[in-house]
Symmetry: C2
Subunit: 197 residues, 2 copies
């Protein structure tokens, strides 16, 4: 399983101590028209080519929340357990007009544990707490031409560290994602808002 291997290799094992503090931050994605005010988000990279963790992505536009519970994956899902996925507002606005991901699009995925399996509304999986790493993909045809224009980054619990994801992310997205390296097959908000639907 590609993601599992990736998480073991990069997050659990060999995160390089990339201390971003003090490094020059350069903004490489030009400002794009957006009607979302302070919600404007642009991918920022440091001099090492590492993505800077996006701020406030929890306030971006939500696109879906699959759950791969521990008890359905022998205790070790690749991404434990809920995956809360978001797209930056400017790219959402572009998507609504075009049904395509703009240059500079950012998609963030944050993990949330399963808190309980029973509630007043029935049996199922109910969200618990944050705890896992944050994975972020950025569409940038110049930086990431080799991986179908998308780059992949993972941020661990320590917000000061990040690790460039290896080829496993891109490989899995290339093989399994429905549209332009994005798993739109699971993102009802995107499909419903696309003018191409």
């Amino acid at each position: 399983m590609l993601q599992h291997r990736f998480f073991q290799k990069t997050l659990l094992g060999g995160i390089a101590p990339l201390l971003l503090s003090g490094m020059l931050i350069t903004q490489v994605t030009p400002a794009s028209a957006s009607d979302h005010g302070h919600h404007k988000a642009h991918a920022k990279f440091n001099q090492a080519g590492e993505l800077v963790r996006p701020a406030n992505f929890r306030e971006w536009v939500f696109i879906g929340a699959p759950v791969t519970p521990k008890d359905m994956n022998n205790g070790k899902p690749a991404f434990p357990e809920f995956h809360y996925a978001y797209i930056d507002p400017a790219s959402w606005a572009h998507w609504k007009k075009t049904g395509e991901f703009r240059e500079g699009a950012i998609i963030a995925k944050e993990l949330v544990s399963v808190g309980s399996k029973s509630a007043a509304s029935g049996s199922g999986y109910f969200p618990g707490d944050y705890g896992g790493p944050v994975a972020v993909s950025v569409k940038d045809s110049k930086r990431f031409a080799k991986s179908n224009n998308w780059g992949y980054f993972v941020f661990g619990d320590d917000k000061a560290q990040s690790a460039a994801a290896d080829e496993s992310c891109a490989g899995c997205h290339k093989t399994n994602a429905a549209q332009d390296m994005v798993f739109t097959q699971y993102w009802a908000p995107l499909r419903a808002a696309s003018p191409k639907k």
Copy 2:
């Protein structure tokens, strides 16, 4: 099960044909300071006291996505199956400052089916399509003093219709919700952003 009874009674059985078109719409919640520009949302009620379906709540701030799958609830969960829940941006801003739900707060919950149980990321529940009704709660101490200041409304597939939820919504929230009639125990984004945590 309260919700199940409610959905049977109100949505499947006895929705009154409340045709909202042509009715006078009055805005009763005063404008509140918000840094979310066009995202400002205010609860609107028609002359019959029915909430008008909020527009664009899919662009509000996401607060969580429990799933009560059919195959874990004898085929008939009260809310099939994913529950995508959102809070209006002005109330989110207020929450971040105070850890409380402001007067006029709106929380929307939309249902999404389970599309598959297996994906590249493992076994679990993966979102499918929209299809169920939209449930909306509004905090208004004048209108809903009898139910702890919150009113509950459900909008069926036909966007032109709505139905005032009966006491079952309020009863269940009163009994089971962790804070001020809201199921904050399942909403990691709210808990993490609260200054009271």
